[in-house]
């Protein structure tokens, strides 16, 4: 269907650059984000981020100021309204102000960069957005990460690991981070900075200290490359998915750090066996899936689990939930199997 979002026709449904950039800038605690556009754009995103924060047990609300454009500014230009919004943001003493434009201000041709370039008492940082005219949601995330990284100087290395570009609007964002932290701890490694997830301006400045950057997914490779050029930090392209993906991930890290990882790998493989044992009661069950999802290499985890548990795929099988975003690490697979077992038991 052309008029509804579908994974088969995704180019039109990739969301708003503004929302992507906001998911990053509102995760910096002492910053304020100015949205240059009608107040509706700011309300929509504020409401969405507020909801996401509550899902993540964070009462704090994102700090957003709208330039509140009305018909008159659409006709005569909105740069003065933007200046007033920036002044209002600065009056609240933030450490930085991020300015995001919307599709409507891009269309009417407001010069956002020129307004941000005026003399302000705190850094006023324009981030290339422009709603759907700026590209996709992911483009907004990448633009924000690259712009902010570009402001940071070099620090001495402390051997730790940065987590880059977490999906801040993802329901399981904290659980996925916890899994990566667990895997790193098996190799005695620590997280340096979550770039950028609920951190302070001071934390951002530490990004150059890590020896490895782990990207949330391959969509962030251009960010990984920029950070490599800036700080010389190598990167792993994605959080691990599936049991074998998790083992590969651990091996990659061990190799980068020159560690002997066999003991860790053996431990993790035994954990995989233990989890599969816990789900032996659904061995041989029949499930139904939407095959359009399954052709992607991102879904290798699915085929692996199906094979491990001798699950049959049949059109009249139980419709089990397949996460659109592949489950992360060992614990992600475990949670997915709980959801499958609930669905299979419900059908009995």
């Amino acid at each position: 269907m052309l008029s509804k979002p579908s994974p088969l026709n995704s180019c039109r449904f990739e969301g708003c650059t503004l929302t992507g950039a906001l998911s990053v800038t509102t995760s910096i605690r002492e910053g304020i984000t100015v949205i240059h556009g009608p107040s509706g754009c700011a309300h929509h995103n504020f409401s969405l981020l507020h909801s996401t924060n509550l899902d993540h047990n964070r009462i704090a609300v994102p700090h957003i100021v709208s330039s509140g454009l009305l018909d008159s500014e659409i006709v005569f230009g909105g740069e003065e309204a933007l200046e007033r919004a920036i002044e209002s943001a600065i009056s609240q003493s933030p450490k930085s102000v991020f300015v995001l434009s919307t599709c409507i201000t891009e269309t009417i041709g407001d010069d956002v960069i020129a307004v941000c370039g005026k003399h302000w008492d705190v850094p006023v940082i324009p981030i290339p957005t422009a709603g759907f005219l700026g590209g996709s949601f992911q483009m907004g995330v990448n633009n924000a990460l690259k712009t902010i990284a570009g402001l940071i100087g070099v620090y001495s290395n402390n051997g730790s690991v940065n987590i880059i570009g977490e999906k801040n609007l993802e329901y399981e964002v904290e659980e996925n981070y916890t899994e990566i932290k667990r895997l790193l701890s098996l190799l005695d490694l620590q997280v340096n900075v979550r770039f950028i997830h609920n951190i302070s301006t001071t934390d951002i400045e530490k990004i150059g200290r890590a020896s490895l950057n782990i990207l949330r997914d391959a969509e962030l490779v251009s960010v990984g490359k920029q950070l490599f050029q800036q700080f010389g930090t190598p990167f792993i392209e994605s959080f691990p998915t599936g049991f074998s993906g998790t083992i590969t991930f651990l091996n990659q890290i061990a190799e980068i750090y020159g560690l002997q990882g066999q003991e860790t790998i053996t431990y993790e493989e035994s954990l995989h066996e233990s989890i599969l044992d816990d789900f032996r009661d659904i061995t041989g069950s029949s499930i139904a899936v939407d095959h359009s999802f399954m052709i992607s290499p991102d879904y290798a985890f699915f085929h692996e689990v199906v094979k491990d548990l001798h699950i049959k795929i049949k059109p009249d099988g139980c419709l089990v939930p397949i996460p659109i975003s592949p489950p992360i690490g060992t614990m992600g697979i475990k949670r997915m199997l709980h959801r499958w077992r609930r669905a299979i038991h419900a059908q009995m």
């Binding site: 008029s3 309300h43 909801s51 509550l54």
Partner: protein, 375 residues
């Protein structure tokens, strides 16, 4: 709206969509980007469609894309309604002339044209609801998918009308599109900010006093109605509220309250808490314009900074509002009545209107105040 910190209320495009999508028999298409589509979809919880225009359609025109989407949706027994968002509205395209069929509803309601209520009323006026002098019953208006209490309100008001032997007329805007041309000559309301102005208005259903007045009028103008049982039930339930509030006041001081809501709902809550709980209504922070005088201070509140300022200034015992207010309420008790109500699971159809609506509200207020005292 001039510059504003964390704007609290949706735009006209969302208002128009909420109005149109409330009618069975209409397929709503948001003509704009995916970003403009996702918000009303997550807020209104109904199927919506979009044109999801891309940059090349802004440059070269969106006609082909609009036709593509319309072709997909036509012939399925529903009227198509197109709602324009900001960018298509300023491109200068004559969208009406692009539409082959006059049966397609076009609502030009970009976000920059105003707030939710403006879009809702614009869409409703384009639908041209009409009174049918032969239509029986009483219309219910002020219903909006945006309101978390809309299903409960309709169920409760229909229950009361049924009890009074009066059929429900057209529900604006939560009914079948065909009923829009056969509205009853009489109307009652659940939210004055969204009043349609259609028909002879018999009153609202917010609070015991209003219910009493409205059903007395119904008894006078609707033949064969029997409003006595509703009025009796209203009195009995009001008496229960008086008793439970009186019991509360034997142990506790009445709360000082700041209410954040649309004006009509805020006025209802203020009257209820003042009358039955002797609450001190220190301020109503209204999301919409003040429509008439009240014996309480009313301030227009557009952004979260206004909310924080009022709460910090008045340090109320109780905050009534949305989950935005809950996030900055400090040590005050909280009751949620205003959209959005994020961060809580809500499945049942709770009303705010009708007898049950007042009972639910008083229940929530007393429980929240007592929980705060014991915390």
């Amino acid at each position: 709206m001039p510059k504003c910190e964390n704007p609290l209320w949706p735009c006209a495009m969302t208002g128009a969509t909420a109005c149109l999508a409330g009618f069975e028999g209409i397929t709503v298409v948001i003509h704009g980007s995916s970003g403009c589509y996702y918000y009303p979809t997550t807020l209104l919880h109904v199927p919506l469609h979009g044109t999801f225009i891309l940059e090349n359609e802004v440059i070269f025109g969106s006609e082909e894309r609009l036709h593509e989407v319309i072709e997909e949706l036509q012939g399925k027994g529903k009227r198509i309604a197109i709602v324009t968002s900001c960018v298509p509205a300023i491109l200068g395209e004559d969208i009406r002339s692009m539409l082959d069929s006059n049966d397609i509803i076009l609502v030009d309601s970009p976000g920059f044209s105003g707030n939710f209520e403006i879009g809702y009323h614009t869409a409703l006026s384009i639908l041209e609801p009409a009174i049918d002098s032969d239509a029986v019953g009483i219309n219910i208006d002020g219903v909006s998918l945006f309101d978390p209490f809309h299903r409960g309100n309709v169920q409760e008001v229909v229950r009361l009308l049924t009890q009074a032997c009066v059929p429900a007329g057209t529900v604006l805007c939560f009914d079948h599109i065909d009923k829009l041309k056969h509205c009853s000559p009489f109307t009652l309301g659940v939210d004055g900010d969204l009043a349609s102005g259609l028909g002879n208005y018999l009153g609202n259903t917010l609070g015991f006093h209003a219910i009493n007045e409205t059903f007395n009028r119904i008894g006078q103008v609707i033949e064969d109605s029997n409003v006595e049982s509703v009025i009796n039930e209203n009195s009995r339930q009001e008496e229960r509220v008086i008793q439970v509030c009186d019991k509360f006041l034997r142990r506790f001081d009445p709360p000082s309250v700041v209410i954040f809501a649309s004006f009509s709902i805020g006025a209802f809550v203020a009257n209820l808490l003042d009358k039955y709980l002797d609450a001190e209504i220190v301020c109503i922070g209204s999301r919409t314009d003040q429509k008439y005088d009240l014996p309480y201070q009313v301030q227009r509140v557009d952004g979260l900074s206004d909310v924080k300022r009022l709460i910090d200034y008045y340090t109320p015992d109780l905050v009534v509002g949305s989950s935005f207010e809950r996030s900055v309420k400090g040590g005050a008790a909280f009751v949620g009545i205003t959209p959005p109500l994020r961060g809580t699971v809500r499945l049942a159809s709770r009303p705010l209107a009708g007898i049950e609506g007042s009972l639910f509200l008083i229940e929530d207020v007393l429980n929240a105040c007592m929980d705060r005292q014991s915390a």
